[in-house]
Assembly symmetry: C2
Homo-oligomer: 208 residues x 2
């Protein structure tokens, strides 16, 4: 059963339960999807409006990109939970003999790498979506400006939520070089995303 197929209320209830998955990673991915969807919505509310005719082409191009990013966030929402299930299964492997221990440890490490890759991908998606959102600020339907602000806030939560999931997993990676690489790349993405999200939010607040 894909998370995207669950009713919204069911998703929230499953999240609240003691089921090991979904957890914060999938919640962060959903928040990213909400951010991308809101940016797509503002484009939808701009296209075809006489008042915003000069932004028609920008809005059409941004709408297509935002819808694509939205779909990728929805996809990553399920993949995050799948990656978690892989590492959980690895922890359940037998560990009676040295061979078993080695196989189990290797499977856990491979699983953890998967659990790091998925939230890292979310971080990259969030930066891309924030840049897209910034690009239509002031070039889209003014009456939906608050929705661009909520988009930026959602993407900010998504990237930091994903970062916590990167951090928790790299802490257990034995491949320290890979862990350090993720840390540096992740910090660079955050350094780009957070000021951008805050700038969009501040601009929207000032416009009110």
């Amino acid at each position: 059963m894909k998370l995207a197929e669950l009713k919204t209320a069911e998703f929230v209830d499953l999240l609240a339960s003691d089921a090991p998955a979904p957890g914060g990673g999938s919640a962060a991915a959903l928040e990213g999807a909400l951010g991308a969807a809101l940016t797509a919505m503002v484009c939808s509310l701009t296209i075809g409006k006489k008042k915003y005719a000069e932004f028609e082409e920008i809005a059409k191009s941004a709408q297509a990109k935002a819808n694509d990013l939205k779909a990728r966030f929805v996809d990553v929402m399920d993949r995050d939970t799948e990656a978690f299930n892989v590492v959980s299964a690895a922890f359940g492997m037998p560990k009676a003999t040295d061979e078993e221990k080695a196989a189990r440890s290797a499977a856990i490490q491979k699983g953890l790498e998967g659990c790091t890759k998925t939230p890292f991908e979310m971080m990259e998606l969030a930066v891309e979506t924030l840049e897209l959102t910034a690009s239509i600020l002031g070039k889209s339907n003014d009456s939906a400006a608050s929705d661009l602000g909520v988009s930026a806030l959602s993407l900010r939560a998504a990237i930091q939520g994903a970062w916590l999931n990167v951090l928790i997993n790299i802490g257990s990676l034995k491949n320290k070089e890979l862990a350090e690489d993720y840390r540096q790349k992740g910090e660079a993405l955050l350094a780009k995303a957070l000021p951008l999200a805050d700038e969009i939010y501040d601009t929207v607040v000032k416009s009110m």
Copy 2:
């Protein structure tokens, strides 16, 4: 059709469309629900665990509160869209005569008050949930610490997203006293929530 009954992917697609509702307000409410659900989840993962027996009562009490807050966020998600529909309908009222104009204007103002009340309620819920989340930090299952961090991030996005929706509506309120009252109360809630959310996030990052 209630938004909570839509499949998650459908909710996101409807949000992205040019349908006037749902918009940022309902997205912010869903983010609040995700935050409350994650806090409930961390309680669920603490209850019944020998290692965390000393926190059993705290976790049980917090779990019940978090589940209640989650349900209230889900409820407000639909009410925000309903409030928006009321004001949209008011804008569509006839305005040929002075009587019609007066009735339409009064209906719009009443609708705007409803559109302000709902996100303001979300802000109050977010503060309550953040305080609950803070209360179990360090008193719950350590392996789910990142989920408390994602909870705080989600609630931060929810309260600021709700605030944008308060701001956009009070800007059109003719009752300036009421508008000012909402502004002051909203700013007080933000002043409480944002440092608390950041503190939870920072504590979680440092623990990794």
